[in-house]
């Protein structure tokens, strides 16, 4: 992928991701990123991550739930012109900042359909240090696939940067954290345990 590519994550996508991790603090969680590719003219393009669907908080290495989710989620978001553009993961342990094999495998799978796929890994230390006064920095790390087919963390060196679409996203996030909003988040796992729970989380931010 020679061309420059930016990654922009919307407030709802970002907040849902963090809330999901906060709901299941003693487990690894993951989810899918939905979005679209926007050509900005010239050689640059932006991957807009418009929404996320939380997937699992247990047995992340197993296929059935992942396959079901991909089918139904793709179907739903197609109507809005969005498709799966990436994957997010939050590790089980607080100080684990490595992108694990399970996450890489799922990322590889998504990469096959969307070559600019993004993998976001929650950075717990950044989340801990988040304060209302400073912080337009997202609390996630971005990984993309480089030419040697491995997932590389993107730095602040210009190319492949991750930005928050709404600059106040962290402020809103802190607000939701203090009001314990994470209790209300539903993931695909929850839906499979009780189908009356909606993985679209409508009305979460009302």
């Amino acid at each position: 992928m020679g061309a420059e590519c930016c990654y922009e994550v919307s407030q709802i996508a970002y907040i849902k991701l963090v809330l999901h991790a906060l709901k299941h603090r003693s487990a690894a969680v993951n989810g899918l990123l939905l979005g679209r590719l926007r050509q900005d003219g010239g050689a640059t393009a932006t991957v807009e991550i418009a929404d996320t669907v939380p997937l699992s908080h247990s047995q992340i290495g197993l296929l059935p739930a992942l396959e079901l989710a991909l089918i139904q989620i793709e179907e739903h978001f197609e109507a809005q012109g969005l498709s799966v553009v990436g994957y997010y993961h939050a590790n089980e342990r607080h100080d684990d900042v490595e992108l694990g094999n399970a996450a890489k495998k799922i990322g590889d799978h998504i990469f096959r359909y969307f070559p600019r796929a993004a993998v976001l890994l929650l950075d717990n230390k950044k989340l801990e240090r988040l304060q209302p006064s400073k912080g337009m920095d997202p609390v996630v790390q971005l990984y993309t696939r480089d030419s040697s087919k491995s997932w590389r963390q993107t730095g602040s060196d210009g190319s492949n940067q991750l930005t928050l679409k709404e600059p106040a996203a962290n402020v809103v996030l802190l607000d939701y954290i203090s009001s314990e909003k994470w209790q209300e988040i539903v993931d695909f796992d929850d839906h499979l345990d009780d189908i009356s729970k909606d993985w679209l989380n409508p009305g979460l931010f009302n």
């Binding site: 247990s58 047995q59 290495g61 197993l62 296929l63 059935p64 739930a65 396959e67 499979l192 009356s196």
Partner: protein, 302 residues
């Protein structure tokens, strides 16, 4: 395994206590019974009882159980002083107790003082070499430090002695899954099914691992175990119903052209598809369209 009705009761009590409606002790007992991890609530409501002189004396001897429960919750919430206070009171009441000794070890663990915790556990094991909980704490420490291969080794050694410990088999299976060692995970679930043949989650987990492994034989076995899950859970298990559909599609793709057993096998698929549709119609009608189109693509919709 948390029974659905008791879990619902616990949720109800939790919101009742949260809103000041009383029932804190009943809630705490249920949390203990179900081994649920609700540390922030336990800490809050447990402390409110312990700090109230009258409420505490009403508990009688159960007071000490509550101190222990609150100590665990405090450790989980990084409130080390609270945990320390509880443990101090407990060790005054029960000097030289192994159970309290374990709590001390766990407090060190929760602070990340692994070496000291090891020492405490080694000392306790000297007096009580077959203490299962301490052996499992060593596994937990390995896992907490991110050394999964050590955790696996320790768990395997543990299970050689304590092979009837179902929780340990389940934990080992889950660690194997997280390491993508699916064959080994399958072995663990096989042990669980042998010793607990009527527990649906074992059948379900086994089926999911086999599906992930793939290959015709595994898929067919997975389908059988999804079916047994459905039979054991009265047809109510959504994951198993979906599992039948997924297996049928995967098997069909692998056996394209061969005609054996197609008719007999398709009854099961159709029944599963119908059961899913009925359930979604009733309880998740806004998701029904996705289910229907998925089934149509799988050619399971009549």
């Amino acid at each position: 395994m948390v029974g659905a009705s008791e879990a619902a009761q616990m949720e109800r009590l939790e919101s009742q206590v949260d809103n000041g409606g009383g029932g804190a002790w009943e809630y705490l007992c249920l949390v203990r019974k179900l081994k649920a991890r609700r540390s922030d609530k336990v800490l809050k409501h447990g402390l409110s009882i312990l700090n109230d002189h009258r409420a505490r004396s009403k508990l009688g001897a159960e007071e000490w159980t509550l101190y222990e429960q609150v100590a665990f919750a405090a450790m989980d919430c990084q409130q080390y002083d609270v945990a320390n206070d509880c443990i101090a009171l407990l060790s005054k009441q029960f000097p030289r107790s192994i159970r309290i000794g374990r709590l001390e070890g766990m407090l060190l663990e929760s602070k990340g003082a692994w070496a000291e915790a090891e020492k405490v556990y080694a000392r306790l094991l000297d007096d009580s070499p077959l203490d299962q909980i301490i052996h499992k704490r060593k596994v937990a420490m390995a896992k907490a430090q991110g050394d999964l291969s050590a955790a696996v080794k320790l768990l395997n050694k543990y299970l050689e002695i304590f092979m009837a410990d179902h929780d340990a088999w389940r934990e080992l299976a889950e660690i194997y899954v997280s390491l993508q060692m699916y064959k080994q995970a399958a072995f663990c679930y096989e042990e669980l099914i042998l010793s607990q043949p009527t527990v649906p989650p074992n059948h379900l987990a086994y089926a999911e691992v086999l599906y992930t492994l793939g290959g015709l034989e595994n898929l067919q076995t997975a389908k059988n175990y999804y079916a047994s899950t459905i039979a054991l859970s009265g047809g109510k298990n959504t994951r198993a119903l979906y599992g039948i559909c997924l297996c049928s599609v995967a098997i069909r793709q692998l056996t394209k052209g061969r005609n054996k057993e197609e008719k007999e096998v398709s009854d099961l698929q159709t029944l599963a598809a119908e059961a899913l549709q009925r359930d979604y119609k009733q309880r998740a009608p806004n998701k029904l369209p996705f289910l229907l189109s998925m089934l149509k693509n799988m050619k399971l919709n009549s």
